[in-house]
């Protein structure tokens, strides 16, 4: 079972599409309606970051089945400017845009696994996993 969906993220309307695809896949994977909403919200935050800071990138969604554990894998990748200080960017309330600074730390809070790989000039990749309970 490796249904994979990818959404190219270039403008604000793509965030709506990304959320929608995420919810669909989460529903198909058996997540509760509450978890579908949480997954859609996390997708909204990381894809908005792409539009806001990197202009364009890609979201890839897939279902995971690892030794009986099932869940959803979400990867948001861009070739934007990258993040110079990841610890700082992951801090609640930190924003270079005068915003709430809740997107990255919030997404980490609601997912089971969260990884941020980024360096200046090297783009940013956020990998998130949520497992079915």
């Amino acid at each position: 079972m490796s249904a994979e969906v990818s959404v190219s993220i270039e403008r604000d309307a793509d965030i709506v599409t990304a959320r929608h695809e995420g919810r669909q896949l989460a529903a198909a994977a058996g997540f509760s309606s509450a978890d579908q909403t949480i997954i859609a919200l996390a997708i909204s935050e990381i894809t908005r970051n792409i539009v806001s800071y990197a202009q364009c990138g890609k979201l890839t969604l897939s279902r995971m089945d690892e030794g009986g554990r099932r869940g959803i894998l979400i990867v948001a990748q861009d070739d934007g400017p990258g993040i110079p200080d990841i610890d700082l960017a992951m801090r609640d309330g930190y924003s270079t845009a005068g915003s709430l600074g809740v997107g990255l730390p919030g997404a980490r809070r609601v997912m089971d696994e969260f990884e941020l790989v980024s360096a200046p000039g090297k783009g940013t990749t956020v990998t998130m996993k949520k497992w079915l309970r």
Binding site: R19, L41, R48, V51, S99
Partner: protein, 124 residues
């Protein structure tokens, strides 16, 4: 798709029908700001029943609408936040602090009438 704003007496009501992009939300904000002044509205109601997600941008925009209304002497109330949506917001760490909320349109209207009766937050 832009959100129609209905004028009911001195209350403006926006009932969002489908998922909105950031641009559409920002347009809603600007339309409210303009109309609250033009119609000297006393209340602003934003019905988000149809929204299946309220993220950081939506939260920020709703807060901003409420604040703009307040500066104009009007009260804003957000109605119809779905239970799953509220739950996800709390988990992520988003809040609508400083924004009045009500269960549905009817309660939202009652709230605005109530505040008006008590003298509300009108700045004179």
């Amino acid at each position: 798709m832009s959100v129609p704003i209905l004028k009911q007496g001195d209350v403006l009501i926006a009932s969002i029908q489908a998922a909105l992009s950031d641009r559409e939300l920002a347009q809603l904000h600007d339309a409210f700001a303009e109309q609250v002044g033009r119609f000297r509205s006393r209340g602003v109601i934003i019905d988000v029943t149809a929204l299946d997600v309220l993220d950081s941008f939506a939260t920020r925009t709703l807060r901003s609408i409420a604040y703009t209304a307040k500066l104009r002497g009007a009260n804003a109330v957000v109605v119809g936040i779905q239970p799953d949506v509220a739950f996800a917001m709390v988990q992520l760490g988003l809040s609508l602090e400083g924004v009045a909320t009500a269960l549905d349109l009817e309660e939202g209207l009652a709230y605005i009438r109530d505040v008006a009766k008590r003298g509300g937050q009108r700045v004179r």
